[in-house]
């Protein structure tokens, strides 16, 4: 027994040494390799956001607090679309590798070694979702509460996609389950991200803002590429059949892997309303929460990349960033509310409740690179008002070259796709709210669909009435019933898909190009706030 006790004691002492040697590193073992810190006056010149007098206790919790995801037969159904599942698995690795290198003194290699390592994973995505915490142990050890927020919201992301990819749930069941998922997410923890639209211009104009993008454009491009995919996949999946989802991801996935991941020219992160406008209009609270989560990613990236902040300041600012996007910070506030305090400005674009205000824009006018100014309440092809409210599902969309636009009728969708270079995805609702015809346009503008029996009405006239004379139907019977109910269309003939695909409408007589206050609100010279 004595010998046993002695042996145990010796091993315990040995372990104490091992743990110490393995973990009790200096606060920053690479401090000696860091660039010389900015002189104090530079730091003093930048005013960091100040935390409120009292922050809630959960912001400093040291518990694990891991909650299991909501049970459901749809879990992991994202694997019905294998390439999408694997691309999303790689996204998790990409985030984690970059964060770990940022906090372990390897930031200097971010654009080279780290980028190459991440890129290798993106090109050879993992079969299963990896544990991000195991890939970025130092980051998680230092910013555990942030990791809780990321992790919990990523679970909502993953489960929402599982529901949309489910082949067992009806479309109505999917809508209901998505709301249940939201409630489970929102009510289970105190650190849910706010569902309110936030003023993105404000959150991206802080003392540390844009540091990451300007210093590490390639890795920032990857982050924004991930966020593009995480947004764009929602409209691709929504209301589409399993076969259409797979076919659509062949197009969208290629766009992601070849182009979106490597873009370094974006002025701002991709927003949900820009890449999945149908989902964002239908579930604005979820779209806002995901945009706010992605903004939190950007804020954290910028804080970690800022060399003039001390480690303590970084920890405080990350804590504050979590607070700023949390539901707790905006309790009692409502979407659409305007406030002199820009943190509490919850205005959104007219016609798009799932998108907060952006730099230099007004609720009436939104700007996108290469697309210019537009109204999110109007068709982007004919300028007539989009379907709204309970009828918003009737808006077709066109996805091409990284953007998604809502239009008013199938003709507008088809002609807009033809006018666009490269491949395009069209989502065309039918008379049945649960049936969307997915049309894929190739490089030459040739259209194809896997939906059999679909017929079209196209009795072209002024676009003031295109919502009536251009429609898609799941069957001839549905077409006949519609025409019968609309006497002005009695002479209209049903078009097969091939007949419809060969047509081209006249330039819409109603089109007007909206003009914004400036050419480009992101242009380097000139400050263009958003009215606040």
């Amino acid at each position: 027994m004595t010998r046993t006790t002695l042996t145990i004691a010796a091993l315990a002492l040995g372990l104490g040494f091992t743990v110490h040697a393995g973990a009790a590193q200096p606060a920053d073992p690479h401090a000696a390799h860091r660039p010389t810190p900015a002189p104090p006056q530079v730091a003093a010149a930048r005013e960091l956001p100040r935390p409120p007098d009292k922050l809630p206790g959960w912001l400093t919790n040291t518990k694990k607090n891991h909650i299991f995801y909501k049970r459901g037969k749809y879990n992991f159904d994202v694997y019905n679309i294998g390439p999408l599942a694997r691309d999303l698995n790689a996204v998790a690795v990409g985030h984690a590798l970059a964060y770990e290198d940022l906090v372990t003194g390897k930031a200097a290699g971010l654009e080279t070694k780290t980028f190459d390592r991440i890129n290798r994973v993106l090109k050879n995505p993992p079969k299963f979702m990896p544990d991000e915490a195991a890939i970025s142990p130092t980051f998680v050890r230092r910013y555990g509460v942030l990791e809780q927020v990321f992790d919990w919201t990523h679970i909502l992301h993953a489960q929402t996609v599982d529901v949309l990819a489910s082949s067992q749930l009806t479309e109505a069941e999917k809508d209901r389950e998505i709301e249940r998922l939201w409630n489970y997410y929102f009510e289970s923890v105190p650190y849910a991200v706010t569902p309110l639209p936030l003023n993105m211009d404000h959150l991206y104009s802080l003392a540390y803002s844009q540091k990451f993008r300007n210093t590490y454009p390639k890795v920032n491009g990857l982050f924004w590429g991930y966020h593009w995919l995480q947004g764009a996949m929602y409209d691709m999946l929504y209301r589409a059949s399993p076969e259409d989802q797979k076919a659509a991801y062949a197009v969208l996935g290629e766009q992601y892997r070849k182009t979106e991941l490597y873009r370094t020219d974006r002025p701002f992160m991709p927003m949900f309303g820009e890449v999945s406008p149908v989902f964002a209009a239908r579930f604005p609270h979820i779209a806002n929460a995901f945009d706010n989560l992605h903004m939190l990613h950007d804020m954290v990236n910028d804080i970690l990349a800022t060399e003039w902040m001390t480690r303590k300041q970084k920890e405080e600012q990350i804590k504050l960033a979590v607070w700023m996007v949390s539901a707790a910070a905006h309790r009692g506030e409502k979407p659409g509310q305007e406030s002199a305090d820009r943190l509490h400005d919850h205005r959104h674009f007219v016609g798009m409740p799932g998108m907060g205000m952006m730099k230099g824009m007004t609720p009436e006018l939104m700007w996108m690179p290469e697309m210019g100014w537009m109204s999110m309440a109007d068709c982007h092809h004919c300028s007539m008002p989009l379907w709204e409210g309970a009828d918003a599902w009737r808006n077709p969309t066109v996805t091409a070259d990284g953007w998604s636009m809502r239009v008013r009728c199938p003709l507008c969708a088809r002609d807009m796709a033809v006018e666009t270079k490269g491949r395009a995805l069209l989502r065309i609702p039918t008379e049945d709210p649960n049936r969307v015809v997915v049309v894929i346009s190739d490089e030459q503008g040739n259209l194809r669909t896997s939906t059999p029996g679909v017929v079209f009405l196209e009795n072209e006239g002024s676009h003031a009435g295109c919502d009536e004379w251009s429609r898609a139907f799941t069957s001839q019977a549905a077409f006949d019933a519609y025409v019968k109910a609309h006497p002005s269309l009695t002479k209209a003939k049903a078009l097969t898909f091939d007949e419809w695909a060969q047509r081209e409408g006249a330039k819409p007589d109603t089109y007007t190009k909206p003009k914004g206050p400036v050419e480009n609100p992101y242009q380097p010279h000139g400050e263009h706030g958003n009215g606040k």
Binding site: T5, T7, L15, V19, T62, K64, R120, P130
Partner: protein, 271 residues
């Protein structure tokens, strides 16, 4: 004669374990993460992580042991875990065995003791503070010749060691105050475990494990037993993990009962 008996035992073992192996092969392909480590899957240490709140898991294992001066023996390990509260989980387990067992002369079938355990995680790892947990298990005397309710208290600390590795310290106090006269009522033990994901940053499905353990002999008058183990956990489904391990009691003092070698294979499924 002795070899015939050994053959008979091996055959019985095969008959007992074959249906279990079929059950495992038919299990759905979903389970826990390969980075989370529970005792016996496949080595003897726990990490300090509790199951997620509301998570459930089933863990099965087969082990084949070759005790000193005994015939070959095998055991089935089965455990159900439930995250009943934040940072806490319950476990219910049993371990029927057949054939030779270290410290026992009988080689017949033994249902083994049924265990009920609770693990609570006090904190995650943060700054330089390790994650700390406490685990307590009660063992009902349902096994052959088993007497009195035994218990084990285990303190667990887990901490990052190196870039991706983690060290896990398990300090045990085993007790069986109502046990047989020849047995010690209390025995201490200690396990130092190490886990590290293998294949980073290109592969993300496998964790390697190693352990060094020391425990007091269970019989009065016997000395300590020093053991080592190596293992691997591999993710084979969204929520399922296979594990393989090999353990050996390298040294035992004063005739302490020990296994020459133990092979472990297991499967975990989280839901």
């Amino acid at each position: 004669m002795a070899s015939n008996r050994r053959l008979g035992t091996a055959r019985k073992l095969l008959y007992t374990l074959a249906p279990v192996a079929l059950l495992l092969a038919a299990a759905p392909a979903r389970a826990v993460d390969h980075n989370n480590i529970d005792a016996h899957r496949p080595l003897s240490f726990d990490d300090a992580e509790a199951l997620a709140f509301r998570e459930q898991a089933l863990e099965f294992g087969l082990n084949l042991g070759w005790p000193r001066r005994r015939s070959l023996g095998g055991a089935l390990e089965a455990e159900y875990l439930y995250g009943f509260a934040l940072n806490s989980h319950l476990s219910l387990g049993f371990e029927p065995s057949l054939g030779g067992r270290a410290g026992e002369t009988s080689t017949g079938f033994d249902f083994g003791d049924v265990s009920l355990g609770l693990l609570h995680n006090f904190n995650r790892e943060h700054g330089n503070t390790p994650a700390f947990s406490l685990r307590g298990d009660l063992f009902a005397p349902t096994g052959r010749d088993s007497k009195g309710v035994a218990f084990r208290l285990r303190g667990i600390a887990s901490k990052q060691a190196g870039r991706y590795g983690r060290v896990h310290l398990n300090v045990d106090l085993n007790g069986n105050p109502g046990g047989a006269r020849a047995e010690r009522p209390f025995t201490p033990g200690l396990v130092i475990g190490y886990s590290r994901p293998l294949g980073y940053p290109t592969k993300f499905t496998t964790t390697g494990l190693a352990e060094l353990s020391v425990r007091a002999g269970e019989e009065r008058g016997t000395g300590a037993v020093l053991g080592v183990g190596l293992g691997i956990r591999k993710q084979v489904g969204f929520r399922s993990v296979l594990d393989l391990g090999i353990q050996s009691d390298l040294a035992g003092w004063n005739d302490a009962a020990r296994d020459r070698v133990r092979l472990v294979a297991g499967y975990s499924y989280g839901f």
